[in-house]
């Protein structure tokens, strides 16, 4: 089952400039692993060395942040769209 993964501008260079790619998998974890396999430069920018989601990245399944679902074990279904977005933060100090 191929699922669409939408990429932020900062990650597109690692995916040959594509704004979205289709990746096979049944869970978020499987899809991110397959994404990393297809585009090695993407993997370590999304998933930490310990296998958890990088804290500077937010991953959405349709309208839901997967951290509030089953994280990497969240199951996906035909027609779902995964969006990867960088966390945007800063401050005055």
């Amino acid at each position: 089952m191929a699922i669409e993964v939408r990429l932020p501008t900062v990650l597109r260079a690692a995916a040959s400039g594509q704004a979205s790619v289709f990746v096979e998998g049944e869970t978020i974890g499987e899809i991110l692993k397959a994404l990393s396999g297809s585009f090695p430069g993407l993997g370590n920018q999304v998933v930490s060395a310990d296998g958890s989601l990088h804290r500077f990245v937010n991953v959405y399944l349709n309208d839901d942040d997967v951290r509030y679902l089953e994280k990497l074990d969240t199951k996906v279904a035909e027609g779902d769209v995964i969006s990867i977005l960088p966390a945007v933060a800063g401050g005055s100090f």
């Binding site: 959405y60 969006s83 960088p86 966390a87 933060a89 800063g90 401050g91």
Partner: protein, 133 residues
Amino acid sequence: MLNIPQIYLDEMIAHAIREYPLEACGLIGGIGDQVTKFYKARNDAASARIYTVNPSDYLKADRDAEGNGTSIIGVMHSHTHSEAFPSPTDVAQAPDPDWHYILVSLKHKDPILRSFCIVDGNIVEESVVSLNC
């Protein structure tokens, strides 16, 4: 050089003033150096010193921008009591070297808006051109 319709410059400053004393934040949509929309976002940090763009607001803005054939090309936030210049925190957390980083300072009597590029920790100011359209 960043081209911004005057209406969005006004919206960014109004957003900063409205959210005071907290830092305000938002995203800018467009293509390259041309801003075509400003998206107000909630500051999840709800702080006078730091900001975190609400991820759901980012997702909505991203979808809208992509739907219009544009992209999110930068972020705006306010500094309530310091200059319109990226702080070490801003530089350390800048997510995209191709983005434009707009700061609105409310430190002085009149708000000051400036824009910067942040690449590999280096800060370069860019001119902001107001477009009347």
